[in-house]
Amino acid sequence: MRMNAMVVAWLVAGALLTGYVATVALPNADPALRKGTERFVALSAEEAHGREIYVRENCVACHTQQVRLPEKRFGVVRAAGDIGDESQAGDYIGQNPVLLGSLRIGPDLARVGARLTRAPQIIAKLRDPATAGGRVHGYGFFRDDELRDLAAYLLSLR
């Protein structure tokens, strides 16, 4: 049995293109996935800057922003159900890059703004690894405005 080089090249390219169409392009064309949920809100300039910092620091390496169906209003961060409501495609409209994440070293942050409702609380958690409850982060190198905007962004996640 022999395979011709061109056959292999077309096979590989064809397979990859088909996968792209099926799992990226088709869903992208689906109007149901493009409709914002009522939870979807545009970010203010401050919050958008905070989000840029979230991206820059790759917080997504340790935090997801997706509440899966079985854990909705059931999963626990501190109190029963405070992980929040199930995430839907429409929650993420326009987010670039989207920050779903795949691994939780820290808790899910999709609705963190509903749990931590005051900026100073969040800022303390981020800045100083020694403060109670903030053992992992050492973002002492953030400027004050960066901390403020990042906190504003996190508060917007509900």
């Binding site: 292999v8 670039n96 690894p129």
Partner: protein, 468 residues
């Protein structure tokens, strides 16, 4: 050693990729260890922007995929281009261009990610300058490879290693252009849930069509040479290629089981992810059958041991992934540190071990010197394998513990973190074990290239037994 980075003789490009792979391997394992250690001991290197956890994690990934594994596997891939006479089929000059482009990309990615310039996309953090340079490098290699095939004037694809290298070189531009959205003006063109799906597409295509195909080429190319036996079955190698083409492009959405993408996509993704055990298993079976004709090879050659371990690692990581693609287990293991086990098994147990096996097989051929210390090779092998297995088990256990705690509906997150903390520390210790192993490897290679004995003819030729 430095002189080699600028010389032009035969196989010099392959040698350069090898040395760069060893260098970036050191960077990758070092960053991996820093990240793992920071999770175990949060105060470690705290407050330094360039070593903040998230940035370190991004670099650990980029350096492992593109610096470490890719460089070593490209060094091998060049070897599998059809030869023109006795010379390498890929012109040295052109391959050097690809080399510098590829490694400039790796250097830029390290710099950009350290400084906080990132695309923020899983498996594709590096910003567009690195993407463009990587695209350039694979296009150059692809064209050179295609020319070598044409000039050699034969159906390369009765030759399994060449077939897989060709397939990988065709695939990578598609992955970069479509997956990373390398369209003018090079911003990420995707947003919202489409971006999530595009990120998942990058992951599955990059892993299945680039890393796995190059690893398959290295296995099919070097195992017969080391065992001095022909490859067990060419049709079985086609099975690997065909099953990859059938399933890998569709496995992306498996990352979102129970998540915010339509159920039909989750189903396609999950089923494809489960079926992706097949290509890995067919590669392992082929290797097994080839080497079982002469089991002594494993004891004699750390290169063969690494290649076999790598093939087993590929199956193990594909299986770990298949498990969390299922609805039931994913409720427990999904989004937990189980994903870290998948990564370790894949990157260091599977692809990385194959790349190291390839490096051990290649180095004498490329430097003309035998390794000075067999014992250091075995130390490297056992340290790496032991560390990978231990950390994979620790992370899988940790994932199940996390999952059970989350599913309780009463245990707070901090308690689940405390429960898995010892396992994460163990994993951090293992990560340093891998660093030490890599150091032994680099040291051994350096000594050998400098003052090793002249390599034997078999080491230099690396040709399979006659009749292969």
């Amino acid at each position: 050693m430095l002189a080699w980075m600028f010389s032009e003789e035969e196989w010099s490009a392959s040698r350069r990729f090898l040395i760069a792979g060893v260098f970036w391997g050191a960077v990758a394992v070092f960053y991996e260890a820093i990240f793992a250690w920071k999770i175990g001991f949060p105060g470690f290197l705290n407050g330094i922007a360039w070593f903040s956890s998230g940035r370190v994690a991004a670099i650990a990934g980029d350096a492992a995929v593109f610096g470490f594994a890719s460089n070593l596997l490209i060094a091998a891939a060049i070897r599998f281009a059809p030869r023109l006479g006795r010379a390498s089929g890929i012109g040295e000059g052109i391959a050097h261009l690809a080399f510098w482009s590829w490694n400039l990309a790796a250097g830029l990615a390290w710099w950009h990610l350290s400084a906080g310039w990132t695309r923020g996309r899983a498996w594709g953090e590096a910003p567009w300058p690195s993407d463009l340079l990587r695209l350039l490098a694979v296009l150059i290699l692809g064209l050179a490879f295609a020319r070598a095939v044409r000039r050699a004037g034969r159906e390369i694809l009765d030759d399994a290693p060449a077939m897989f290298v060709g397939a990988a070189l065709v695939a990578m531009p598609v992955v970069l252009i479509l997956g990373k959205g390398l369209f003018w003006p090079f911003h990420n063109p995707y947003a919202g849930i489409t971006d999530a799906l595009a990120q998942a597409y990058v992951a599955t295509a990059l892993n299945g069509f680039w890393l796995l195909q190059l690893a398959a080429a290295a296995i099919f190319g070097f195992v017969p040479a080391l065992a001095q036996r022909p490859l067990h079955s060419a049709p079985l190698a086609y099975v690997a290629l065909l099953s990859l083409c059938a399933f890998a492009p569709f496995a992306g959405p498996a990352a979102f089981v129970w998540g915010p993408v339509p159920f039909w996509l989750q189903t396609i993704g999950a089923v494809s992810a489960m079926l992706l055990v097949l290509p890995a298993a067919s590669i392992l079976a082929n290797l097994w059958k080839t080497i079982s004709a002469r089991w002594r090879t494993i004891g004699e050659s750390p290169a063969a041991a690494f290649l076999l371990t790598g093939a087993i690692g590929l199956v193990a990581s594909a299986s770990a992934r298949a498990v969390v693609a299922m609805l039931g287990p994913s409720q427990f293991a999904g989004l937990s540190v189980w994903a870290g086990a998948e990564w370790t098994l894949w990157m260091y147990g599977g692809i990385g071990a194959v790349a190291l096996g390839a490096a051990y097989a290649l180095a004498p051929a490329l430097t003309g010197r035998t390794f000075v210390s067999r014992r250091l090779q075995w130390w490297h092998y056992w340290l790496t394998t032991g560390a990978v297995v231990t950390s994979a088990v620790a992370l899988m256990l940790g994932g199940l513990i996390q999952g059970a705690a989350w599913a309780s509906g009463t245990i707070p997150f901090s308690a689940s973190s405390a429960a898995v903390a010892p396992l994460l520390v163990l994993r951090g210790v293992c990560a340093w074990g891998i660093v030490i192993g890599h150091g032994l490897f680099a040291w051994n290679l350096f000594l050998s290239a400098d003052s090793g004995e002249v390599a034997t003819a078999a080491e230099r030729e690396l040709a399979p037994a006659a009749g292969a």
